[in-house]
Symmetry: C2
Subunit: 286 residues, 2 copies
């Protein structure tokens, strides 16, 4: 019997970094769907139209991606894996154009922010934000104007038949985006060595410190803390914590019970194998 | 002798929330300069072209503004004050247009993100990002097209002679942006009750917890922790900490000395009077 292909989803258009991270993660051909908004990925996952979705969660140059943090909290889903991808931005133009022709450049604001040094040195290029990098490439191809460029990937240049006018314009050679792979249910296996949770603590001074103490005293290594605002209470925060551990380990179970007992909100976002990408200047090795 | 007016600067164009926060903070008429980029504010401050600048640092719905955090670390400057401003977004169009005419809307991505519920309910309106909210208002006025709208403030509608097609479209009634006022030098007075610092700690597990312990044991209330990535070391972070205190207080001095002793990077960003804005649904009271 022929097995049905996995159905997967990402935000953006073909040629996007999300699509690339998705295909690297699964390493087999999946039936890929793409959607205009981040939230669509979660909606289609919830409705069963796809089995897995992928969302970017953090860039090593510009930080956490708020929308993804909010959606992971809001939807009933679980992080089942992560994938780090080296991001290389190029300045693209229509065939026959060159850097000095470009007066306007479209891209996602993150593409521009990550290439700010290049644009500081090219002050005549005016930036106009666009939905995402690959779509900006698609868009300038349609405009077909020598004075208009896009910041996007090599794959986007190939897909939309554009020239690369300037290579690797991101200022940070170690520019990595981390993506999370999201499924409907949590599946804990032996290889899961990273746990992500989100909590809120009471407004009493030191409450976060106390929560962190439960990890500390159990020698559980907190690898990440990210604060996101509580919508209804200005200047109070959700804390997203990542730590090394497996949800079947009694020490982890006990630490989380303690954290939960002093949290006003508590959610386990997932337990999954950590993905490390070692990046050298100009190269990429795993 | 007539005193020269203070020279102040902000990013954006007249009608922006930065301009509004600036004029509310100083409460006297200053000589205002506006610049295309956030970094320009710091450059002109450094060059002595302005005495004070203002930058948005955090929104209560969408979180910290990365670029400001990075610039405060990079430039030799000091936070001398803060101002919270209630943000109300409106859907603007050219005179005579109405909501159902609008097919495309320009704004800063934050304006769109903060109004996402409205646009979920108006799926025919396509979002195109723009540099900032006030500039998007200025831009659609130039386009003079009934199908094109902007998300911006009431003041922008007045300045650029646009109609308000839908009022208060931000989903969060308590939508506040906090701005920091930046000067060249630190001035500590008695009224300064909030300290902002940025540190990096060693990669050993528990190092951040240890740093936080110095505040805890001195009963200094940490009000905020924000992590921003270290550019050259993926997944290591700068921690921006705010706490209640005055830099002349011996307890504060001693706690900071301890924190500094275990930090690989340490910078005091400023000591200034905290600004609290109590916002009720639909109203604003200080």
């Amino acid at each position: 019997m022929k097995k049905d292909k996995l159905k997967t989803g990402y935000q953006g258009v073909p040629g996007s970094f999300s699509e690339q991270a998705l295909s690297e993660y699964f390493n087999i051909k999946t039936e890929e769907y793409h959607f205009p908004d981040f939230e669509d990925v979660l909606i289609h996952l919830q409705n069963g139209n796809i089995q897995y979705g992928i969302l970017p969660i953090e860039n090593s140059s510009t930080g956490g991606i708020s929308e993804t943090y909010n959606l992971l909290r809001k939807y009933d889903c679980s992080i089942i894996g992560e994938r780090c991808l080296k991001i290389e931005h190029h300045l693209l133009g229509i065939r026959g154009s060159c850097v000095k022709d470009i007066k306007q450049v479209y891209s996602h604001p993150q593409g521009y922010e990550q290439s700010e040094v290049f644009f500081r040195n090219h002050p005549n290029i005016n930036f106009l934000p666009y939905k995402n990098t690959a779509e900006s490439a698609q868009y300038i191809r349609k405009l077909n104007d020598k004075t208009i460029g896009a910041i996007a990937s090599r794959k986007a240049a190939e897909l939309y038949d554009l020239d690369i006018l300037a290579e690797d314009i991101n200022f940070n050679r170690k520019n990595i985006t981390r993506f999370v792979i999201i499924g409907k249910e949590q599946k804990v296996s032996k290889s899961c060595n990273k746990v992500s949770i989100v909590i809120t603590v009471s407004h009493t001074p030191g409450a976060l410190y106390k929560a962190m103490g439960f990890f500390e005293e159990n020698h559980l290594n907190l690898t990440k803390i990210e604060s996101r605002p509580l919508i209804d209470e200005p200047w109070h925060y959700y804390f997203y914590l990542d730590f090394e551990g497996n949800l079947r380990d009694p020490i982890v179970i006990s630490a989380l019970e303690n954290v939960k007992s002093i949290s006003s909100y508590f959610k386990i976002l997932g337990n999954y194998p950590c993905h490390n990408l070692m990046v050298k200047d100009g190269g990429q090795n795993e």
